[in-house]
């Protein structure tokens, strides 16, 4: 395990969770408001649908738990968001969320990391969301190219 300090310390195979999670209506409304997702299913429903983009926050949850000192010497940059949902995930639903550092690899001189996350309905043990997150860990170099 390479957890406990920086995101950039994470290693292939590191397990994240499982953790018990209940996403609240407040969390859904706040996230959707910030992203201008004003659909009634997010803002008005007493048990709103959790937008699939919120799966990204589960990675951040794991970073908070396992990498409390932040990203390391360079800012990381989010490169790919890849989500599949198998049905509606609603606020208030007890969930089990877990993740794994699937791979770290070099591509065109930059280092990338894939983290796979699953979100399951705890009571039915039903898979609701699968998410793969890819970040570039060597952002300073990427930023020079972008500038």
């Amino acid at each position: 395990m390479a957890t406990g300090r920086y995101t950039s310390d994470l290693e292939e195979g590191d397990r994240l969770g499982p953790v018990d999670v209940v996403i609240s209506p407040f969390q859904v409304r706040e996230y959707c408001h910030a992203n201008e997702l004003h659909q009634p299913c997010f803002q008005n429903d007493p048990n709103p649908i959790v937008p699939p983009t919120m799966a990204h926050l589960e990675k951040l949850r794991f970073y908070t738990i396992y990498c409390p000192d932040g990203c390391g010497p360079n800012a990381r940059v989010h490169y790919t968001f890849d989500v599949r949902w198998h049905g509606a995930l609603r606020a208030g639903m007890p969930l089990v969320v877990e993740g794994v550092v699937r791979s770290r690899y070099m591509k065109r001189g930059r280092e990338y990391m894939d983290v796979d996350i699953t979100m399951r309905d705890k009571s039915a043990d039903r898979l609701l969301v699968e998410y793969r997150d890819t970040v570039c860990l060597s952002y300073r170099e990427a930023a020079k190219d972008a500038a």
Partner: protein, 152 residues
């Protein structure tokens, strides 16, 4: 869009109205993250990031702040839901986005869906596969990806 989702055909494109990626929109997202994480009903503020702090962004080699890629992902999702209905979240679906160019302050962003395939399903409805992207005012791609949803 003047057709129903079931009338969409491969090659059809749906474009959003442009939204300007203002400093406020970037900050709304940045501060939403600790606010959602705290989950106590109050607003919480982020540590400095490349998305809201000019000096921090310059220290990372950027000319200025850039938006978080999840904002354009959410704007693409918004266009998907406005165009095809929120029912697509009740059935299995997928969304993939890649952040291929930085989005700087005050850049106008247009989101686009293009139907690539429409497969009728035995139980009714059809499965749409789409290319999705966000482009700047000059038509340069900043976010690219795919989506797959069931429509009725």
């Amino acid at each position: 869009m003047d057709r129903t989702p079931m009338e969409l055909n491969p090659g059809d494109e749906i474009r959003s109205a442009p939204r300007v990626m203002t400093r406020e929109r970037m900050r709304w997202y940045v501060d939403a993250l600790p606010t959602v994480e705290a989950n106590d009903g109050r607003v919480h503020f982020s540590v400095p990031t490349i998305h809201d702090d000019d000096e921090y962004a310059k220290g990372q080699g950027l000319p200025g702040i850039i938006s978080d890629g999840m904002i354009t992902s959410n704007w693409i999702l918004d266009l998907l839901l406005r165009s095809l209905g929120t029912q697509v979240l009740e059935d299995p679906g997928a969304l993939l986005t890649k952040f291929v160019a930085p989005v700087y302050e005050d850049v106008p962003i247009t989101c686009v869906l293009r139907v690539e395939g429409a497969q009728p399903l035995p139980q009714g409805g059809q499965r749409l596969s789409l290319k999705v992207w966000a482009e700047d005012g000059a038509g340069k791609l900043v976010t690219v990806g795919t989506a797959a949803v069931k429509i009725h």
